[in-house]
């Protein structure tokens, strides 16, 4: 990763609820990157995002977004952020045009032409009442609202939940384009790891309120592999380090998180056909992290 300025910094942030505590020691996002927040339901993804948007007040710790504290400068920050939540709330009896006009009054940098062009490309009728929009249309409309003030950072909390695969792919493609072509930073949270796989540059796993792993996606996928091997072939230290270790009738298998480190010691086994390496996806990594060794 290049030495780029961080637009987001979390330090020792804590938020306690009854029966749940978010405890984020460190989380950074360099400009122009897409950060994927992965975690099971209730892991603290939404709380983390809501702290950023000042929708939830942290108990302690430090948060900086564009160098500003969201609690002290919520207005300035929201002016530079496009937010898309899991649920989209609008005044249902108002039209798309009215809502766009209403929202535009709050932003310093609102681009009416861009909003109109996004509505056209998303095929959203301006005269339709927002309650008449389908779930997919609401997400598209929210995205149009979130993008029309040229935000420097897009924050998306489970944006594709409940969407059909076509719209899901379309939304993710748009995000990818915005990041690549316009250098926008994106934070996307999801428990659908496929979304993160398609879009993110950086991946952070959040489990039970704690960040258990942060890495560049490509590096992560290079280091995490599933190893199938015949018993007695692998070094004991390697076997002990494997996660989700299983013995089968034809051998054993497990997941390693330091493949590049142990790669050389596996070469002979791979050549002899007694060791096989299988790529894992983010789902496998999440399950390994949740279920432990």
């Amino acid at each position: 990763m290049d030495e780029t300025e961080n637009i987001l910094e979390f330090k020792n942030v804590q938020k306690k609820y009854k029966g749940f505590a978010l405890d984020v020691m460190s989380l950074n996002l360099p400009q122009g990157y897409i950060l994927g927040l992965i975690g099971p339901n209730g892991a603290g993804k939404t709380t983390t995002i809501k702290i950023l948007m000042n929708m939830v007040k942290r108990d302690r710790g430090e948060v900086r977004l564009f160098g500003l504290d969201p609690q002290r400068n919520p207005k300035q920050i929201k002016n530079r952020v496009g937010y898309l939540g899991e649920e989209q709330h609008f005044y249902g009896n108002k039209t798309v045009a009215w809502t766009g006009n209403f929202v535009s009054t709050f932003y310093d940098n609102w681009d009416t032409n861009m909003f109109q062009s996004l509505l056209t490309s998303f095929q959203i009728s301006r005269t339709k009442k927002t309650r008449e929009l389908s779930k997919g249309m609401k997400v598209r409309f929210s995205l149009a609202l979130a993008l029309s003030h040229h935000p420097e950072l897009l924050i998306l909390d489970e944006p594709t939940a409940g969407l059909d695969p076509v719209i899901r792919r379309e939304v993710l493609e748009l995000l990818r384009k915005k990041s690549k072509n316009e250098g926008k930073s994106v934070i996307i949270s999801s428990h659908i790891t496929d979304d993160i796989m398609r879009t993110a540059d950086l991946v952070t796993f959040l489990i039970e309120g704690k960040i258990v792993l942060t890495s560049e996606k490509d590096e992560l996928l290079s280091n995490w592999k599933k190893i199938h091997y015949k018993k007695g072939i692998l070094d004991t230290a390697i076997v002990k380090s494997l996660k989700r270790h299983k013995d089968h009738a034809f051998g054993s298998s497990g997941v390693t998180d330091r493949y590049l480190e142990i790669k050389d010691s596996l070469v002979q086994g791979i050549t002899e056909g007694v060791v096989k390496i299988e790529n894992v996806n983010l789902d496998d990594i999440l399950i390994s992290l949740v279920k432990g060794a």
Binding site: M53, P74, K75, K78, F90, Y91
Partner: protein, 203 residues
Amino acid sequence: MGYFIGYCCLILILTAILRVTLGNDHAVPLVLISGILIILMVFGPVFFNEQYEEKHKGYDFLDILPVNASEIVLAKFGLILITVVITVGYLLLLFSVSKVAPNDWNLVRSYILMSGAGCLFFAALSYIGIFSLGYTKFAMIVMSFFVLLGFVPILIMKFYRDNMDALIENILAFLRHVNWLAVIPLVLTGYLGLMFIAIKIKE
């Protein structure tokens, strides 16, 4: 906002029609009705408005926009203040052109101003309640309060049965002698104080 403007217009039009049709002979009921209409401004537009916000999750929508909670509260309190000032001002103007004896004019003015102050006070308390407890819970409490309020006339009748005339006379005397030049700044200060409490809660 539409609710406030609509309700304000309704009061203005209704009282004007009543004033023209009833004439001076029915000035007392007209004054009484006007005061009640002002007070009802809280339970009409404030509650309708908040019910609307609750139904559409308006505050969740506003939460993602670059607007401070203080600005939202300020807008709501400002709107009520403007509406009350317009309504009270209009009613005072309406009654001032009526043929009212100077002594009774004091009473009418006090009653209208008192209704305006009451409206501001209840509106501010309502917003504090809604921001603290949420609309649904607070609306339930208000409804229970109204049920209990129904017993107040019965209690008054019971305790003041023999002194009812004296009680009414005392109230009228109090209204006649209220120094509004001193009370208006006090009411506005109290209203602003409650607004700051509402802002703290909303934040």
